[in-house]
């Protein structure tokens, strides 16, 4: 039992965090927003050069063969930076799903994806839209017949503008007879369940990063902003708001990290822990964003202060990869049918530890 990240895992997080500290500041976000472009090409190239697209794809398939727990700090860093580009969805969810499909049809796309030459967008029954479909090379689409891999050119996309200026959402339409499913509905369900676990876990990690960023922004402002001759951060009313938000974060973080470590179990317990992580990180992000707005006062309600970028990403991710109701249902199944109590902190179905 050792609930600590290894040096390599910490390094993975800090490399991405440092890169985004250079290339993904709020000023960069505003520049991208003004340009109306889907991506910042300089930043995306730098991310591609890191070679993390294949992080969760097996080494035998050309990936890095890492586990979710190796990638979770990176996802946190993406949330903390409010990264517009689809690193987390592509590397964390879509490419591992693509790699699990029969290789004849997927091989060229997987190779291009691992090389960072293209991205794959993913449709999932829990998400009403497909994110980043317009910049993807191909889409994984779901019908009653199974999972289809369809080049973007063959998909009719209807843009669905999001409150988050950096989320690119679409509804999709394609002609299934032209693109027969690569796997049937039963196998699709299995793969989509695994994708939901990864999607929810990495959404939780991003929400955790967003939550901490909101507190960081508010703390910085509270140290500077003076009222009644003192920084507002010296007043208890402000301190206690921020401390309360930080407590939420402190008790979401270990859940997210434990969820990442247990994801490969793929059982009742790991699924519930991922759902718990999503719920806890979502609530932390919600409280931290609202607290940051309150601490900024009227400025917090302005377009000029950066907090709203994080508020909007938090709103989006709280229901992306499963609504709170869906995740609470998964926690309920575990609580009502699985072992409970102090000796059941790290349970798994496959052994009676």
């Amino acid at each position: 039992m050792d609930f600590r990240f290894t040096d390599e895992q910490l390094m993975m997080g800090s490399v991405l965090r440092d890169l985004l500290a250079d290339l993904c500041q709020p000023a960069d976000l505003r520049r991208l927003m003004a340009a109306g472009a889907p991506r910042d090409e300089r930043r995306w190239s730098a991310i591609v050069e890191m070679g993390v697209a294949g992080a969760l794809v097996a080494e035998t398939q050309g990936g890095l063969g890492l586990q979710p727990v190796d990638f979770v700090l990176g996802a946190e860093a993406c949330g903390h930076a409010c990264l517009p580009e689809p690193l987390v969805e592509n590397a964390g969810v879509a490419l591992p799903l693509l790699a699990a499909l029969p290789s004849e049809a997927t091989q060229p796309w997987l190779a291009a994806g691992l090389a960072g030459e293209t991205t794959i967008a993913i449709q999932h029954p829990v998400n009403p839209f497909v994110a980043d479909a317009d910049t993807a090379g191909a889409l994984l689409l779901v019908t009653d017949h199974g999972l289809h891999l369809v080049p973007r050119e063959a998909v009719r996309l209807t843009v669905q503008p999001s409150v988050d200026p950096f989320r690119r959402l679409f509804t999709t339409d394609f002609d299934p007879p032209d693109w027969p499913p690569l796997v049937g509905p039963d196998e699709a369900d299995r793969l989509l369940a695994a994708a939901l676990d990864r999607g929810a876990l990495f959404a939780a990690a991003q929400l955790l990063g967003i939550a901490q960023r909101c507190v960081d922004l508010a703390v910085a402002y509270a140290k500077e902003r003076q009222q009644f001759g003192k920084p507002i951060g010296s007043y208890q009313a402000v301190k206690h708001h921020l401390a309360t938000a930080q407590v939420k974060i402190e008790f979401a973080r270990p859940v997210v990290h434990a969820a990442a470590a247990c994801l490969p179990q793929g059982d009742l317990f790991s699924r519930a822990r991922i759902s718990h992580a999503k719920l806890a990180a979502g609530e932390a992000a919600d409280l931290a964003a609202r607290t940051a707005i309150q601490v900024h006062g009227a400025m917090g309600y302005s377009w000029e202060v950066d907090v709203h970028f994080f508020l909007k990403r938090a709103i989006a991710l709280q229901t992306w990869w499963g609504t709170p109701a869906l995740h609470r249902g998964r926690v309920a199944r575990r609580a009502y049918t699985g072992a409970l109590g102090p000796d059941a902190t790290f349970p798994m179905e496959s052994s009676h530890a």
Binding site: M1, D2, R4, A222, G233, V238, K239, L242, R253, Y336
Partner: protein, 387 residues
């Protein structure tokens, strides 16, 4: 990161479980805060634990412990609470004074005080707060005047937990009469049976006497009873408070047991309660898990040589608020039966939830109020300026 137990850890769990199963009292003991009889029944349990070397498991072997690491300690606590073993009347000694004595005491002091503490022969109360020194503990006015090889203690302590029936107390006294605030304070031990000591139990919200006032009227104790240097009381006291707020005083197992009982209670009454209760039940379950995971994370870090920081404060806020929520939710499930005392003929098991609810209301107050904890988090963790 490895969130599985090793073979040794599993074996250790088995060993603890086996011992507890054959040793815990057949009947629940009466409360140690309600009567002398209950207190002595718990003392007997402490002696039994000590005889099995299960009393002070994190202490070094030289003092009757097993020198467990923090992960083993968590396993021990999980099994302890799982078994339904009695609450620890000795916890001021185990978690507060014991570790402080080991860090600051002389060899003679350790030899004098630790063995009877471990054996349950001397059970300790704490005597820090005073009527005018609560959250602002540095306002301590009780004095200790040095006369030759003795100190003469004078003053009024309050909110001293376990003092109604305990044998000894450790308290903060002003040894330098001209000093102010944090300076000039010393940590001194005194027997609660000494001449000049008067203990006045304070009935609590639930009618029990978990704490008391202590009046000290020229109480003579040997200078040997001072822990650390004269004037070092504040820094030692803060170290002790660190232990108290820190990892050890509120092990997650306690809340996991409460959460398990809450889920069971909910499932038994599911059809009779309004739908919104379910979210609160699940929140209670998740919060207990989150607290356990957080403690495992901290324990792993400390085991690798890290230091405890402001998480002592975040922990305290989290568990105290969780404890209230767990019990409030249970009372909402019980409906009109929730108000029944344990002694009511129709109460069955119900009364325990009301007891627990009252006890939970003290959580955000004692061991440093949650308002003070939020100040600590804001200043030491977030770096906000002091007022």
């Amino acid at each position: 990161m490895d969130l599985t137990y090793s073979a040794e850890e599993k074996q250790f769990r088995h060993e603890v479980r086996t011992w507890l199963e054959s040793n815990i009292p057949a009947e629940p003991l009466p409360s140690f805060d309600a009567s002398r009889e209950g207190f002595e029944a718990h003392r007997a349990w402490e002696r039994r634990l000590d005889a099995g070397r299960w009393g002070m498991v994190t202490w070094p072997q030289a003092y009757g412990g097993r020198a467990l690491n923090l992960i083993q300690w968590l396993i021990f606590e999980e099994e302890y609470y799982r078994s339904g073993a009695p609450l620890r009347v000795n916890q001021n000694g185990i978690f507060l004074l014991g570790p402080t004595l080991m860090e600051y005491g002389t060899a003679e002091q350790k030899a004098r005080f630790l063995p009877p503490m471990a054996a349950g022969d001397e059970i300790w109360a704490q005597a820090w707060s005073e009527p005018q020194a609560g959250s602002d503990l540095a306002g301590v006015a009780a004095s200790a005047t040095r006369v030759g090889d003795t100190y003469v203690l004078k003053g009024h302590k309050i909110w001293s937990s376990r003092a109604a029936f305990a044998d000894w107390a450790f308290g903060l006294f002003r040894t330098d009469p001209g000093s102010q605030r944090h300076k000039g304070l010393s940590l001194i031990f005194f027997p609660l049976t000494a001449k000049g000591v008067r203990v006045q139990p304070i009935p609590q919200i639930d009618g029990e006497t978990g704490f008391a006032e202590i009046f000290l009227d020229d109480v003579e104790v040997p200078a040997f009873n001072r822990l650390g240097g004269e004037g070092d009381g504040w820094s030692i006291c803060m170290a002790t408070a660190g232990f108290e707020r820190g990892l050890m005083l509120r092990s997650p197992a306690r809340f996991q047991v409460a959460a398990r009982k809450l889920v069971e209670l909910y499932l038994a009454h599911r059809d009779a309660v309004e739908p919104s209760v379910e979210a609160a039940v699940l929140q209670g379950f998740m919060d207990a898990e989150a607290y356990a995971l957080s403690i495992y994370s901290t324990a792993s870090r400390l085991a690798a040589g890290g230091q405890i920081g402001a998480e002592a404060s975040t922990n305290k806020i989290f568990w105290s608020e969780m404890d209230i929520a767990l019990h409030r939710t249970a009372l909402s499930i019980l409906g009109a039966r929730g108000e029944l005392l344990r002694t009511a003929p129709a109460a069955g098991d119900v009364g325990k939830w009301l007891d627990g609810y009252f006890f939970s209301l003290a959580g955000p107050i004692y061991a440093g109020s949650n308002e003070i904890q939020r100040n600590i988090i804001a200043e030491r963790m977030l770096g906000l300026p002091r007022a």
